[in-house]
Symmetry: C2
Subunit: 252 residues, 2 copies
C-alpha cells in the first residue's frame, strides 16, 4: 500500500547548493531523495514547501513523499537520521492524505533574517548570521518593518532573474513583519501567505538601507508601490536566512 509521508526537516544550508536537485551538485532535496530512495528500494521524489537558496538554513522545512515500504513511522525517522549527514535532521514524520502537497497546501510561512552587529562574529555562529559591524539606525528599521504588512504586489522584492514565473501574480500577503533586538543580534521575522524567490533577502537588504539612512519610511512605501526591483536594496546574504516554520490547515 502506498503511503504519503510528511517530514519536518531542520538543516544547516552552508554546505548545500540549496534545496533543489541540480546535476553534479549536493542539494538538500537530492540528499533526502537518495536516503528515501535507499529505504524504499526505488527512486522516490521528495517535494518541499518551497525551494531554499544555497546557504539558506531551515529550523523547520516541510517535505513530503510517497512510499510503499511498510516501515513504522518512528523507525522511518530513525533510519533517515542514520543515513543523512548531521547537517540535515528529520524532526518529525507523519502520515498525510494521498493528495497532500507541501507547497500548494501551505497557508503560511515564517522566516527569520539574522544580522550580527558586534565587531567580531562568534566563530561558532558565522555560518548562521549576516555580519554587519557598522552603524545602523535600528529604531528606524524597527519602525519601517511593519510597513510591509498587508497585501501588496511585491514585484520590487522579487528576484530579478525570476523569468520562470513571468506572468504569475506577485501579490502576496504579509501577516507580520517585525524587527527585534536581542543583544548584538537584530532579528527580522516575517510571516506571510507565501514568498517570491529572494523576497525575504531583498526585504532584509532594503531594511538595511533604512538602517544605513539611505531610505526613509516614505521611501520604503514608494519602493513597494513602484513594483520596481531596481529601487529596492540589494539581496542580503543567504547565510543570515532561516526558514522557521510552515503552516497547514489543521486537517492536512
Amino acid at each position: 500500500m502506498l503511503r504519503r509521508i510528511r517530514v519536518h526537516v531542520a538543516y544547516d544550508g552552508t554546505d548545500f547548493h540549496g534545496w533543489q536537485v541540480q546535476p553534479g551538485l549536493v542539494t538538500i532535496q537530492g540528499t533526502l531523495q537518495d536516503v528515501v530512495s535507499d529505504i524504499e528500494g526505488s527512486p522516490v521524489l521528495v517535494m518541499a514547501s518551497g525551494r531554499t537558496d544555497a546557504g539558506v538554513h531551515a529550523l523547520e522545512q516541510v517535505a513530503a513523499f510517497t512510499i510503499s515500504n511498510p516501515i513504522p513511522l518512528d523507525n522511518l525517522r530513525k533510519a533517515m537520521n542514520r543515513l543523512l549527514p548531521p547537517s540535515i535532521r528529520i524532526l518529525r514524520v507523519c502520515l498525510v492524505h494521498e493528495g497532500f502537497h507541501p507547497r500548494y497546501d501551505a497557508i503560511a510561512k515564517t522566516y527569520e533574517y539574522r544580522i550580527w552587529r558586534g565587531e567580531s562574529c562568534p566563530p561558532f555562529e558565522w555560518r548562521y548570521l549576516h555580519h554587519h559591524p557598522y552603524p545602523l539606525r535600528d529604531a528606524e528599521m524597527m519602525d519601517a518593518a511593519p510597513l510591509l504588512e498587508g497585501e501588496h504586489d511585491f514585484s520590487a522584492f522579487a528576484a530579478s532573474d525570476e523569468r520562470d514565473e513571468a506572468g504569475l501574480s506577485k501579490v502576496r500577503t504579509i501577516y507580520s513583519s517585525r524587527i527585534e533586538k536581542r543583544g548584538e543580534l537584530l532579528v527580522y521575522r516575517v510571516r506571510g501567505s507565501g514568498f517570491l524567490k529572494h523576497m525575504v533577502r531583498n526585504i532584509a537588504g532594503t531594511l538595511l538601507e533604512v538602517g544605513k539612512g539611505n531610505l526613509t519610511n516614505d521611501g520604503l512605501r514608494a519602493v513597494v508601490e513602484s513594483r520596481d526591483r531596481k529601487l529596492a536594496g540589494p539581496t542580503a546574504p543567504a547565510k543570515g536566512l532561516f526558514l522557521i516554520s510552515v503552516e497547514y490547515p489543521e486537517d492536512s
Copy 2:
C-alpha cells in the same frame, strides 16, 4: 622596539588539525603565525597556553608572540580578524612583559566536555557536541565527577602515546570537577592546575562508563589509584571538548 603581545582567541576546531603546526596540514597555530608574520613582515612564532587536539574548540585560548611592528593594539586585533578565517576570532589583545609565557605562566585552565543526550542532534550544533543518545545514569555521573578533585597522579588518564613526556610528573591538581544538566545537554566542567594530553577526554570517557553502569564510584577511585591507562574508559571524541579559559597571576 619589540613588544610582547598576548591574544585571547576563540576558535571552532572542526576544520583544523589541532593547535600545533604540522607540515602540509591546516592548524590553528599555523594560521595565526601566517597572519601575524604577514602583519610583521617577517616570520613570527605564536605560542599558546597548550596544544588543543584536532577537532577541539576554544571559547578562550591564550597565545603570545613578539613583534616590532608599532601598530596600535586595537588595530592589531582588527587586522588579525580581517586576515583570519571566520572560524578563528581574536577576542582581546594586550601588552605583556617580555618574559610572558602563555604555557608556563598559566596557573589554571578550565575545560568543558559537552554531551548531547537527545535522540537527534541539532544540525547547527553537531560540530560542538558528543552525541550520546543512549541511557545514562546521570545522577551517578554527577556523584562521580567530584571524586577527581584534588592532587592526583593522573597517569590513568594520560594519552597512551605520551612518550615525549616520559619521566615527567603526571601529578596535577583538579580544583573543581562537576557535571551539570542543561536540558538534553550534560556538561562536564573541570578546572585544574594543568592537564595531560587527552586527560579531559579520557576523564569524560571514564565518566561515561560510570553513566553506562560499567564503573562504580569505588571503581573510579581505583582507576585513579592504579595509574593504569588501560583501566580508564576510552578517549571521548574531540568535538565535545571546549577550552573555556586560561588563568594567569594578576600581574602578568
